[in-house]
């Protein structure tokens, strides 16, 4: 019987091969690297008070037209090292309206006002204006002031007075003469917070919209426009953002300190050059050069995939002279259209990029260019619609109603794209969806005990059109929409109650109709997140994060505990998220979600349509295909959930599950009537996913080595190969006596035109030749040829193939390969975020991979590392200047 550990077969313990270096380089302007720095996403204006002299204070944000400030009475201020002391009453004001601030904040409906200040005393009041965008003492957009021993912020919205009342204040005694970091944030949902020295000091709900902000107002420091609310003290830093910084980001800015400003120019320049390489040069080399000049091909002795080999050069010597494109062989050959060979020359734009890169010093970040990172060129951010499975789980979790049968019948199936059916760009809607959502909403409400459901959110059973009904809508909506409602939403859905009341309906009927509407709303059908910003990465807010966690781990909405944590802003730390993840992974929904992943990764749904040629495979029927699917899922469940083993053991674990029919198909003696566990430690031929019928059938009736090899290369090794080159007949060669699959393949590999690509994947499939098209084991093929199982495997990015003698040896090599583990991480990450990953994600995925496999590499380890990563905790925003059509380009950094 099998012991606690999966014992690999073959020659000794699995050898660890490959390294993660393959994904090494590619970091876009992504978060991990900027934590020691001030937060820059959403920044609109920044004043560092480092001028040292004069009457002008420069806006150093680098965003839009600078909103510089002029000191009205220079004699009343004193420049100090990194600060400006206001000794007596003056006004410091922008020369014109604060248009860029006001417009961006109106659009985002969120704001952060940050200041490092040292008040001169704790008596000044009014409040004394520290920072304000206002017209006079009674009309404003926002004002941050000191009122004796406390700080006060007045923010105008459609729900406040023009004076910004009610305002938000810290407790008395919190304003002192010490240097203090004060941050006010207000998010689009209306939650306002004040932080002092990085810690929460006040919170209040300021509802309404910011659309009524007056674009004519100026930005002022140290006084009101009218000049009668002076503030005295010193300014060290003032910043305004068009979004609400998260508590974590507030702490980050606090840690950065009062003197923190922009990064040193040299560091910034280096970062820009690295980014230029990562986003422009590396993809260009991957696309146009690595076919011939990677580690495997290395034509002319030149390997352009590694930094070291690139700068070492090829047989003809060095190819790059940093700083001198004209002396660089690579540039000269590209410029002369001599490279790339046998294909169209590079465009003038691409040539210019290479020339610029070399002349700027040929900066190369990381070590290796992995073409797989650049394989996906899908751009843009698509909203995530709930998949059919997510819709079913969401309804079940939110209402307790099982709508699975009806939903599967009415909703169009989600189509698989880029390997998964939850790929956001492909989750469109058609008329049938609309009709289905409408009908399902009515079915759900019909099945629901509406009064009991409503009682979870409100004690009232009165059909009113007043605050009581609004409170119910707000509370019920928050649960169904997975976050707080805005005023307009409360008004909108409460309006249904008004209509019901006007037609003589009752409370139950009104709640039923409101529920029906909510179940069709965009916030129920889609996972809506803030996507607009400045093009950089921002943290997702607590409710968005709660949804990400629950849909990643469960494929279902947040539960009450997660919602409570989001409400209390407790999801800002990776530590807390890890605690939540550990709790959530104990829920059966986590198992179901993992099964969805494995099914989609291996395309197990394909088995339902499998129809091998009945003349050749008489015993094959749909039941056997179903058994194959059940085998793989049961195998995965034992390894991932019962035994919590590293997922790499999926490749070589020495057990499986089979029905009697499948057992006979495999040549095993049936052990019982149902799906039984089989120890395979004594079965040399089988062990691991790739020896199961569910994956062996991928090769088709003829057990194609090409298809099987490509499957392993693409889905387990993230390898890339191009189309067959011109001049090669790709018609499959019929087998016959004396001509086995292996022989045909060897002939192909002996052909120079084919070998360049085929040697990357076909020898992997040699190990599977002893399995026929439906996964039966054989020693002799249909034509009487003896089949073999020895071969070679070349891990992507490495130069030396590794020989194996048996299928089991290959499985051990794969199980021990970091490239395989990295691919699993990559696949799971793609499934989690619902989009193909690219260069901008590589650094985050690398961190996830390292953390997950350091922790043990189990399903739980992978999921925990994933949900605590920047990939999940941050989101890429899109600026309004970025192109909106599919034909445009994303914002790209300049060299």
């Amino acid at each position: 019987m099998l012991s606690g550990r999966c014992q690999p077969k073959g020659h000794g313990p699995a050898k660890v091969i490959g390294t993660w270096l393959l994904i090494s380089v590619l970091v876009c302007a992504f978060p991990g690297a900027i934590k020691a720095q001030r937060v820059s996403g959403g920044l609109q204006a920044l004043y560092t008070f480092t001028e040292g002299k004069g009457n002008l204070i420069s806006d150093r944000s680098g965003v839009g037209r600078p909103l510089n400030l002029a000191i009205e009475k220079p004699a009343t201020v004193k420049w100090q090292s990194g600060s400006l002391l206001i000794r007596s009453s003056t006004r410091i004001a922008s020369t014109g309206p604060a248009t860029k601030l006001i417009n961006s904040i109106r659009k985002s409906r969120a704001v952060t006002l940050e200041a490092w200040i040292r008040p001169a005393n704790t008596r000044q009041d009014g409040p004394a204006r520290i920072v304000t965008i206002s017209a006079n003492p009674n009309v404003r957009d926002i004002t941050f002031g000191q009122d004796a021993g406390l700080y006060n912020v007045r923010l105008r919205s459609t729900a406040t007075s023009t004076n910004g009342e009610p305002s938000t204040s810290t407790r008395p005694g919190t304003a002192t003469v010490a240097l203090t970091h004060v941050v006010y944030t207000r998010d689009p949902g209306g939650t306002a917070r004040i932080f002092l020295n990085g810690k929460p000091a006040a919170a209040k709900r300021i509802s309404g919209d910011l659309g009524n902000w007056d674009a004519r107002f100026r930005l002022l420091l140290a006084n009101e426009g009218s000049g009668d609310r002076p503030w005295l003290g010193s300014f060290h830093l003032v910043a305004l953002y068009s979004r609400a910084l998260s508590p974590r980001e507030v702490q980050q800015n606090h840690r950065a300190g009062a003197a923190a400003s922009n990064r040193p120019p040299a560091e910034l320049a280096m970062q820009q050059r690295q980014q230029f390489f990562e986003t422009r040069i590396a993809p260009l080399l991957a696309r146009h050069c690595l076919d011939c000049h990677d580690t495997v091909a290395a034509k002319g002795g030149l390997d352009l995939s590694h930094k070291a080999t690139t700068f070492k050069g090829g047989k003809s010597g060095k190819v790059i002279v940093p700083g001198k494109a004209a002396e660089s062989r690579i540039w000269k050959r590209v410029a002369a259209n001599e490279m790339p060979k046998k294909t169209k020359p590079l465009s003038n734009t691409d040539k210019k990029l290479i020339e610029t890169w070399i002349n700027d010093g040929a900066t190369w970040s990381g070590d290796l260019i992995d073409p797989a990172v650049y394989a996906n060129r899908t751009r843009g951010i698509w909203i995530q619609r709930l998949t059919v499975a997510e819709y079913i789980e969401t309804v079940r979790s939110d209402t307790g109603i099982d709508i699975a049968d009806e939903a599967r019948k009415l909703l169009p199936p989600d189509i698989r794209a880029d390997g998964f059916s939850n790929t956001a760009y492909n989750l469109g809607v058609d008329l049938k969806h609309i009709e289905a959502y409408s009908r399902l909403a009515e079915m759900i409400v019909a099945k629901l005990d509406v009064l009991k459901f409503a009682a979870r959110f409100s004690r009232s059973r009165k059909l009113s059109t007043d605050a009581t009904m609004r409170q119910l809508v707000e509370s019920m909506g928050k649960w169904l929409f997975r976050g707080p409602l805005e005023e307009r939403e409360v008004t909108n859905y409460s309006g249904i109650a008004t209509t019901v009341a006007s037609t003589g309906g009752d409370f139950k009927e009104a709640v039923g109709f409101i529920l029906e509407a909510m179940l069709q709303s965009p916030r129920f059908i889609y996972r809506i997140e803030m996507q607009r910003g400045d093009g950089s990465s921002w943290p997702v807010n607590d409710f968005e994060l709660a949804s990400r966690l629950s849909y990643i781990i469960w494929g279902a909405p947040p539960d009450q505990q997660l919602m409570k944590a989001a409400q209390a802003s407790q999801l800002g730390s990776a530590k807390r998220i890890a605690i939540e993840a550990a709790r959530m992974l104990k829920d059966p929904r986590a198992i179901r979600q993992s099964e969805r992943f494995i099914s989609e990764w291996l395309d197990l749904d394909r088995l339902a349509n499998l129809k091998p040629d009945p003349d050749r495979f008489e015993e094959f029927d749909p039941e056997l295909a179903r058994d194959m699917r059940r085998e793989t899922l049961a195998f995965f469940n034992e390894l991932a959930w019962k035994r919590k083993r590293p997922l790499s053991e999926l490749l070589n674990a020495q057990f499986t599950y089979a029905t009697p029919k499948l057992a006979r198909h495999y040549g095993l003696k049936p052990r019982g009537p149902g799906l039984e566990r089989y120890d395979l430690s004594g079965v040399a031929s089988r062990g691991g996913l790739l020896t199961q019928g569910s994956t062996l059938t991928i090769g088709g009736d003829d057990a194609s080595m090409v298809t099987r090899g490509l499957f392993v290369l693409n889905d387990f090794l993230r390898g890339q190969v191009k189309d067959p080159p011109p001049g090669v007949d790709t018609t499959p060669v019929p087998l016959r006596s004396g001509l086995s699959h292996r022989r045909v393949s060897e002939q192909r590999l002996a052909n120079v035109a084919c070998a360049g690509c085929h040697k990357r994947f076909e020898p992997i499939a040699f190990a599977l030749e002893k399995f026929d098209g439906v996964g039966r084991f054989r020693e002799v093929d249909e034509h009487g040829n003896r089949v073999r199982e020895d071969g070679m495997i070349q891990m992507p990015g490495t130069s030396r193939p590794i020989a194996y003698k048996t299928s089991a040896e290959l499985m051990n090599l794969l199980a021990g390969s970091d490239r395989v583990r990295a691919t699993m991480t990559w696949k799971l990450a793609q499934f989690a975020v619902g989009r193909p990953l690219g260069a901008a994600d590589a650094a985050s995925v690398r961190s996830i991979h390292q953390a997950a496999w350091k922790a043990g590499g189990s399903w739980s380890d992978l999921v925990t590392a994933l949900v605590t990563s920047d990939l999940v905790m941050m989101t890429r925003t899109q600026s309004d200047t970025q192109t909106t059509t599919g034909q445009g380009t994303e914002k790209q950094p300049a060299p």
Binding site: N376, T378, I496, G886
Partner: protein, 475 residues
């Protein structure tokens, strides 16, 4: 098993049995609903795609070769030779898919389920109907009969400008019928006026919410806003059908019969292909073609695409093929190739094409495809397709007919994606017809010339690439 031809007239008469659930609107079928009042026919644009292609050498034979079935329509078509899609070749991606996605977009694909940009007929739709189509109309209709599904671009040929599919594929004739002519039963609304009002109130609230996410205050990025806007459009269509169109014809036509041939997942068992007879195939296709044509004739649809067999199609066809009273060929792909599974599929004939040989099986397949394409086109040229200007829909609409490859051997990109068969209609005298023309241009320039001819200012392809007009195709 062939079905009686479905036409506007037979629809109007009713096919006999009264049906519940698909009451056809009298105004839908008695006249083109929107177009009748206009002095000019409406602008319409459709893409017709057929799988595997016509190898460029066979195109030189004119109507004496595989293009013979198009001959009766030759006055209404401009057949273009030497149209290239070479920019669509992508390393590492199957060339069937490259060519198929490039047909009508002229751009390389962008992912498994996305094109590299909009398709020509969607560009026309957005350019000439910037505020949307008249209410109640199906904005885009995508239909097809096909058996290869691994990538969406193989069988869908109508794409939004961001490259996503423009509408859901209707692959069963029944589904297409329901999409175009079905009315919607609002669950629980019944005929009770009060409940109708309440149901409408729900929809109003939902619409209001969706509108917010498409507006200036939306937290969503451009692509997401566009997706939500699509959703909103579908709700409005739903609303129109559910509440506005209430006049039902009691003795409506029968719902088309259920498909006998496989659809969905079973239609593509892991790329191994399916067995199908010519009769099964053409019966299914012709029902689809009839319904699609009817949707156009009744002015329920002005834009979309129709697919007859997907790119890299995998079928093992059997049956006698006759044309013009003459036996052309006995289809028996598996038997003639002495292979089962994928290697016994018609697809293999394209890989075996050799211009020095007879290529009889390939010729028969290509000829049959032209016959079926011609069947659909002829439906738009019959007496029931007469527009207000006295010409037929085939004369007035902009119809593009193309395929995936110019060769199919997967052994030379230039041969494979150069000389891809193209034919277009005159689009109400905007383009020449009645010729076989050696165009010698990129698909991108042909399509952009057509967009210019249609009066659309937007162009396909990279913005920094100067357009090279192909003026010789313009009338």
């Amino acid at each position: 098993m062939s079905d009686p031809r479905i036409s506007r007239r037979t629809m109007l008469r009713g096919a006999g049995t009264a049906t519940v659930g698909f009451p056809l609107l009298e105004e839908m079928i008695s006249r083109p609903a929107q177009a009748a009042a206009a002095a000019e026919p409406p602008v319409r644009a459709f893409n017709i795609f057929f799988g595997l292609g016509v190898p460029a050498p066979l195109q030189t034979e004119g109507f004496s070769g595989v293009l013979e079935p198009l001959k009766p329509l030759s006055d209404k078509l401009l057949i273009m030779r030497n149209v290239d899609q070479v920019r669509c070749d992508e390393k590492g991606i199957n060339a069937h898919y490259d060519g198929a996605t490039g047909a009508f977009t002229a751009q390389p694909p962008d992912g498994e389920a996305k094109a590299g940009g909009g398709s020509i007929e969607q560009m026309v739709r957005r350019g000439l109907y910037p505020k949307g189509l008249p209410s109640g109309m199906v904005p885009t209709l995508i239909g097809g009969t096909f058996f290869r599904r691994s990538r969406v671009g193989r069988y869908v040929h109508s794409f939004n400008p961001d490259g996503t599919v423009a509408a859901t594929m209707q692959e069963k004739p029944r589904d297409l019928f329901e999409r175009v002519f079905g009315t919607i039963t609002v669950a629980g609304a019944g005929t009770d006026a009060r409940r109708q009002r309440l149901k409408r109130s729900i929809l109003d609230s939902v619409v209001e919410d969706y509108r917010f996410y498409t507006g200036k205050q939306s937290p969503l990025g451009a692509r997401s806003r566009s997706r939500v806007a699509d959703h909103l459009d579908r709700i409005r269509e739903f609303e129109q059908r559910a509440f506005a169109l209430k006049h039902k014809k009691k003795n409506g036509p029968s719902l088309p019969r259920r498909s006998i041939i496989p659809h969905g997942g079973p239609a593509d068992p892991g790329g191994q292909g399916i067995d199908i007879t010519l009769e099964e195939l053409s019966t299914e296709w012709r029902l689809m073609a009839d319904l699609y044509a009817l949707a156009i004739q009744t002015d329920r649809v002005r834009f979309g695409s129709l697919t007859f067999l997907a790119a890299g199609e995998r079928i093992r066809l059997k049956g006698e093929y006759r044309f013009g009273g003459k036996k052309m060929w006995d289809f028996d792909d598996a038997g003639q190739q002495r292979a089962g599974g994928d290697q016994g599929c018609s697809h293999e004939w394209w890989h075996k094409f050799n211009e020095k040989r007879k290529n009889e099986a390939l010729r028969a397949h290509a000829h049959m495809k032209m016959r079926e394409v011609a069947y659909f086109l002829a439906r738009l040229d019959d007496s029931e397709s007469r527009d207000v200007n006295g010409r037929t829909i085939l004369d007035n609409a902009m119809i593009t007919i193309s395929t995936e490859s110019g060769d199919g051997r997967h052994n030379d990109v230039k041969r494979e994606l150069s000389g891809v068969f193209h034919a277009i209609t005159g689009a109400n005298r905007r383009f020449k017809t009645g010729q076989i023309m050696d165009v010698g241009a990129e698909g991108l320039d042909v399509y952009n010339t057509m967009l210019a001819g249609m009066g659309v200012s937007q162009r396909l392809g990279p913005t920094n690439r100067p357009m090279q007009p192909v003026d010789k195709i313009r009338a």
